[in-house]
């Protein structure tokens, strides 16, 4: 019993893995600093930065007024002066307030000025936690169409730590979306390596091997896909689950390799369907692997409405395991 507790104590949550990455990067490089709302002594709305203010001081863990434009603008300016800022959006929904800084300044800087703006803008995204329309967003598609921004959304503690470190060390701006449903999810607890490691940006991972169809997804939807794959296996349908990990740049090779194997694909994401990143993935598969397709590519995504506050409505809005199973069943019978 004692041994088990000890073993559990050494395992970290998704959220703790992010904190470890921040701490270790700040220890490694004194140019790295954090900036955001309530991230100082309060430790942030989700306590991601808890303890870092005490460890690194107010100069490196900077509390700001409620202005995302100012946070990102200040981070961008500091980055131009040689720092490596990590800006926190209290909820990723409010990154829209910094849209101008990100799309008109940060993303274009390397192309305009010849050097990049190495900032990380991170924050909690996603629904399923009864956050309502202002605290559940998945804005990846807005930024996927702004060339010059990398977009990362991990689904495991190991990847969260390794990808955040890679993002901080990247010479260009990276948006780092943390699905808040995963922050303390028990099934994500895992023991991480003691040594320093990074997970390269732009590399997808096959989370489950399958032969009949591929589910391409990322973030919290990886677990919906895996649960659906379990159910599908009972029905004799073998689903492969590809976790993109990085949204931009898309790991086209891994996606295509899977589709060439299974010949059928579902693209699953939590953002609304219309204009969602699923359309981009689907189009890429069609362009590059048309002759390997045995059925149309199916998108499973949220409805084209804001995220509802009512729990039953939010459940209806979000893709559920049932939705994925239904789509996969129909697709495999196509």
């Amino acid at each position: 019993m004692t041994a088990e507790v000890t073993e559990q104590a050494r395992q970290v949550t998704f959220l703790e893995a992010i904190r470890e990455a921040l701490r270790e990067e700040m220890q490694r490089d004194e140019k790295v600093f954090l900036i955001g709302e309530d991230i100082g002594s309060y430790g942030g709305a989700f306590k991601v930065t808890e303890g870092l203010h005490a460890e690194f001081g107010a100069d490196r863990v900077i509390d700001t007024p409620i202005s995302e434009a100012a946070i990102v603008g200040a981070a961008a300016g500091a980055a131009m002066m040689g720092f490596k800022p990590v800006a926190e959006m209290q909820f990723i929904d409010f990154i829209s307030c910094a849209f101008d800084q990100l799309t008109n300044v940060v993303s274009k800087w390397r192309y305009r000025m010849g050097f990049g703006v190495p900032i990380v803008v991170r924050g909690p995204c996603g629904g399923g936690v009864r956050g309502g329309p202002f605290h559940s967003g998945n804005p990846e598609a807005f930024f996927a169409n702004s060339a010059g921004l990398k977009i990362v959304e991990p689904s495991t503690a190991y990847d969260a730590k390794g990808l955040l470190k890679a993002a901080i060390r990247d010479p260009d701006p990276v948006l780092f979306f943390e699905h808040k449903f995963l922050y303390r999810l028990p099934r994500l607890r895992e023991a991480l390596p003691d040594e320093d490691y990074v997970v390269p940006i732009g590399k997808a991972a096959v989370r489950r091997e399958g032969t009949d169809l591929t589910i391409v997804t990322f973030g919290a939807m990886v677990y919906r896909a895996l649960d659906a794959a379990d159910r599908l296996a009972e029905a004799g349908i073998s689903a492969e689950v590809v976790d993109l990990r990085t949204i931009v740049p898309l790991d086209v090779e891994t996606v295509l390799a899977s589709v060439r194997k299974t010949n059928r694909a579902i693209v699953l994401h939590e953002a609304s369907r219309t204009g969602g990143y699923g359309g981009e993935i689907s189009a890429t598969i069609t362009e590059k692997a048309f002759e390997w397709l045995d059925a149309p590519i199916i998108r499973v995504a949220s409805l084209d409405t804001p995220v509802p506050y009512s729990p039953p409505l939010e459940d209806f809005y979000l893709p559920q395991v049932d939705d994925i199973v239904e789509a996969a069943t129909k697709l495999s019978a196509y």
């Binding site: 010949n263 998108r299 084209d304 129909k330 196509y334």
Partner: protein, 446 residues
Amino acid sequence: MSTDVIMPQMGESIAEGTIVKWLKAVGDKVVRDEPLFEISTDKVDAEIPSPASGVLLEIKVGEGQTVAINTVVAIVGEGAGASAPAPSPAEAAPTPAPAPAPPIPAAEIPVSALAPPPTAPSAPAAPARPAASGSVEELRRTRSSPLVRRIAEEHGVEISSVNGTGISGRVTKSDILAFVAAGGAKSAPAAPAAAPAPAPAAATYTPAAPEAVRPTFKEGDRVRIEPMSIMRRRIAENMVASRRISAHVNTIFEMDCTKLVEVRNKLKGQFEADGAKLSYTPMIIKAVVESLKAFPVLNAAIQGDDVVYKQDINIGIAVALDWGLIVPVIKGADEQSLLGLSRSVGDLAERARTKRLKPEEVQDGTFTITNPGIYGGLFGTPIINQPQVAILGVGAIEKRPVVINDAIAIRTMSFFSLSFDHRLIDGAVADQFMAHLKTTLANFAA
């Protein structure tokens, strides 16, 4: 002014028709709607009326020739008869073959429950759209997916010859891989076949295996060689296909039809007064409908791994013709009275013999009745009309001595045979159906 006479499209999915006979000669006067020529298509033979009144100025397509629908086959116009056959230069120009099928607009994909309704593809504006373009279902069957087309090309497989288990009978990757693995592929991607027959609308099926014996008669031998009619070819294809698709089993019951005779004698005069002829067929249909309701699996079909139970009971009636056989269908037979059934049977049989059936009147049957007893045959073992799963053969109806309560009695008896598809229907169920039918006939009441 002249009017083009075109090969009509006799029903969806019909791509071509054969001129069997011209009923008028060049120079003859014709009245609008007067029969002008006879055609034979995949589905029906029909007399085609003239679209206009005037003189038959020119026949462009001779008897025996097969042309795509919408091809101009003749010109009717105002003329002084045979002496004025000269068509205008424009009309004399060779008739272009209809354009190839337009590519299908993005097929609707009814997969995700979350999918918004697919945008309707804009309707093709061209009025002369060839039927071969077909429906989404047909395209799924004949074109499948990019992957399957690639595999088909690699192995020289004609996709329409593979049995599909996907949506609309679509050939899936596993279907074609299994077909190839089973040795279905030809040795090499052959040159395009001279004129691939359009796939029958009813069901896709594997083509005949190479015949073991292929006769090699030729002109000059002591034989007469004539091409099979389209109807003959279709019957040949469909019969062989059905034998291959279904696991045929027969069961034969002797039915006491004495009641039918009684009812017929009682009602015959009344029906005649109503302008209908009461034969045994409508009575048998009525009894069969009752038994089909009790055993709906005989009114079903197999689709991939699914069983499709049909809510409509549409009874096909095999009608022998001098030139072949056709099966007009009584739609909604369960909703008709004996009088209504009598009228339907009489009307369909009459129009079958005079080639005036509409294509839709030979489609959508759910169960078929045939009459091998008409020339005295005791019973037959008919072939199932795909995609149905059973067919009833009615043997000769005649008086026979039978033993009732240890006495020999004279009763009107008949052997009924049921051919059923053992893939779906087991012997016990088939026999229960026949026993039910036997009871229904023995107690038949109008």
